[in-house]
Amino acid sequence: MIAQPIPPVVIPEVEARIEVDGSSRPVIVLYWGTSLIWLTIASIAGLISSIKLHSPEFLGGMEWLTFGRIRAVHWDTAIYGFGGLAASGTLLWLQARLCQVRLPYRNLLLVGGVVFNIGLVLGTAGVLMGQSTGVETLEFPLWAMPLLVVPYVFIVIANFTMYFKKVTKHTYVSQWYLMAVTVWFPILVLSAEACTNLGAVDGVAQAIANWWYGHNVVGLFATPTGIAAAYYLIPKVIGKPIHSYHLSLLGFWSNAIFYNWAGTHHLTGGPLPAWTITLGVVGSLMMFIPVITIGINHHMTMLGSFHLLKTSPTLRFAVMGSMIYTLSSFQGSLEALRSHQEVTHFTHYTIGHVHFGMYGFFAPLMFAMMYYGMPRLMDQEWSSARLIRIHFWCTVVGMLIYVTAMCYAGIRQGLMMNDPSIPFLNIVRFTIPYLALRTLGGLILLTGTIAFLINFVRIITPHKYTWKTPTMLDTERDWKKLVELEKQSENGGTK
């Protein structure tokens, strides 16, 4: 088998873990569970938007499902519903474990989770009814926003409380990122709302504020949480220390310094002062430093342990996520260049890139957190290895179909649009098959999500029979077998 030295189990640490996991169970399960429901909703909304782009007559009679509304619903539910809840669950659980303290304010956090979900439902309903603010990423009507912001304040408080009460002496890399997120995100949301929907500035400055936020919600909220998860899971699963503390430092601070500037690359060609866009381009290019640094750190840690990818579901999703972090960030940095934008700006290429990052990097890392965390929180194993395999391959295949179709179509589309002799409608016609391919990719992704959801529901409902050992990818486990066993024993009991 493996020649891995198994580190001695430090008993106080195990006890702390059992304590921490027990205390955080209801909160984390609520956050993760609802995040998966929102992922399903976001995917369905994404699918509807996708179908409408190649078959505009689809659901054409329904005012509240028009493209402008359903697309806003897709993005907002994906980032706040799935992203926000999955990341918050991850944040709280990781912080509690790394500080080795019980999760504080559990009831407050539970109420917060419920309120956040109500806010999401109301915001979504508002957008569907046509009350979208029209500011991308902040489409939810203003009256729904307090319901999203207040619960987040609880999370911030809980996070700081844990950190200041921590038992461990050392602050691990993941914690840096988690602390940073809790400081950055409230600043981002509040100042962006002030500068857009509340009208503190107007005109071009509003557009800058909008995209500063739009980019940072991915870069300073989703990304750091994803990186924190990768920094935790990879060394944890393979049982080796992270390669280099110094690289961790370099990666963290360069990420903190440069990401914030990149937002204006979304506005290339717009009526902005040229230097603001150049600043965005330079910020994006400088992102090569943290991305390469973090990439090296993760890769060097994994070196020699790649064979574990065959069996560990957690590791497979985590490594997929951190590899695509490197790839999609490279793609993004290059995409910011003006010469690149001349072709790909305002084409499907951007959408391809967004989904490469969100579905190739962020989402798999959140899945990895759940695959790792749930058995510990629930004291039960995943019922079905088959469903995990379906989930993994659907994610990979669906995402690759989606991303390659969109990126290829986007480049061709951009080149054609730069040629004034080609009629615009011909270009639109050219993209239709690729848009249909995206729908196919989306359907595959949704299938994977549903497989995960089934497994998730199984693990949170208590069962009499459970596997004694962890569910690895190379086993033939299926939850039907568990059900059969349960029935058999019941029959046996009554006989």
């Binding site: 493996i2 891995q4 198994i6 580190p7 189990v9 430090v10 640490e13 873990r17 474990r97 691990y172 890399v173 920094y231 935790y232 060394p235 944890k236 699963v237 393979i238 049982g239 220390p241 390669h243 280099s244 503390y245 110094h246 961790s248 360069s254 009526p271 902005l272 002062p273 040229a274 230097w275 150049t278 600043l279 381009v281 330079v282 290019l285 400088m286 430093i289 060097m300 574990l308 069996t311 560990s312 957690t314 003006r338 058995p375 510990r376 004291d379 039960q380 194993e381 029979y465 459970t466 596997w467 004694k468 050992t469 962890p470 690895m472 033939e476 486990r477 568990l482 066993l485 024993s489």
Partner: protein, 234 residues
């Protein structure tokens, strides 16, 4: 954690276990992650600094002269880096949208209520007086083109100097009116001069028009050669 120790899926058959094996997962997992201390190669640090240098160069080279209205990242030969000034006639027509409800699109006003702007001595005459009317509004009896009006126009001073100059330039050159443009600097000057004043009465206006401007910077006698100042692009 387990995920490594369980390389051997020894039992393909699930085992019925009526009691949960408590905290199995937490027991079997690896120690919490630690930091390794592999040093960062100096060559890597140097590469990072080179990247920073390149970024700084790029920022300077494509900085678009670092001005608020520099819309092109590089100066293009023959084209000034700033956007061309906006044509006051175009902007003026836009602002005139606010006047149409009373003075009408034709500039003829409404007989008995709203005086005309076409052929009006107030529009075609002293520019300083015209600016003053617009900034502060006017109330009471007023004779325009031989007819008496007795009504009220609100003040327009919340509009920017550039917009006031443009709309006046526009009304002075439309519907057969042919008078020279109103410079922005004049609006700025009159705004200063009339600061704190309320709406005009016909008599007070005449008095104001008869006095010389307070500041020499504001020309009372129109300098016909003065072209409208370039409107800064917003």
């Amino acid at each position: 954690m387990s995920d490594t120790t369980q390389q051997n899926p020894e039992e393909q058959q699930p085992q019925a276990d009526p009691v949960f094996t408590l905290h199995m997962a937490a027991m079997r997992e690896m120690q919490e992650p630690r930091d390794g201390i592999a040093p960062t190669p100096v060559s890597y640090i140097i590469c990072c600094f080179l990247a920073l240098l390149a970024g700084g160069w790029y920022m300077g080279y494509y900085g678009g002269e670092w001005t608020a209205n520099g819309l092109s990242e590089r100066p293009i030969a023959g084209i000034p880096p700033t956007a061309p000034p906006q044509d006051p006639m175009v902007l003026g027509k836009e602002v005139f949208g606010a006047c149409i409800q009373c003075h009408q699109e034709s500039g003829l006003g409404v007989a008995g209520t709203y005086p005309p702007l076409a052929r009006s001595e107030y529009v075609l005459g002293d520019k300083r007086r015209l600016v003053a009317i617009l900034l502060k509004g006017i109330n009471g009896e007023l004779v325009v083109d031989g007819k008496v009006y007795n009504s009220q126009m609100p003040a327009w001073e919340i509009r920017e100097d550039e917009e006031i100059a443009a709309v006046l330039t526009y009304i002075r050159a439309s519907w057969g009116n042919k008078a020279d443009p109103v410079p922005i600097s004049l609006v700025t000057a009159v705004r200063k001069e009339t600061a704190g004043k309320g709406e005009w009465r016909s008599a007070a206006l005449d008095e104001f028009a008869a006095t010389a401007p307070a500041a020499p910077a504001a020309p009372a006698t129109p300098a016909a050669t003065e072209t409208p100042a370039a409107a800064p692009v917003k």
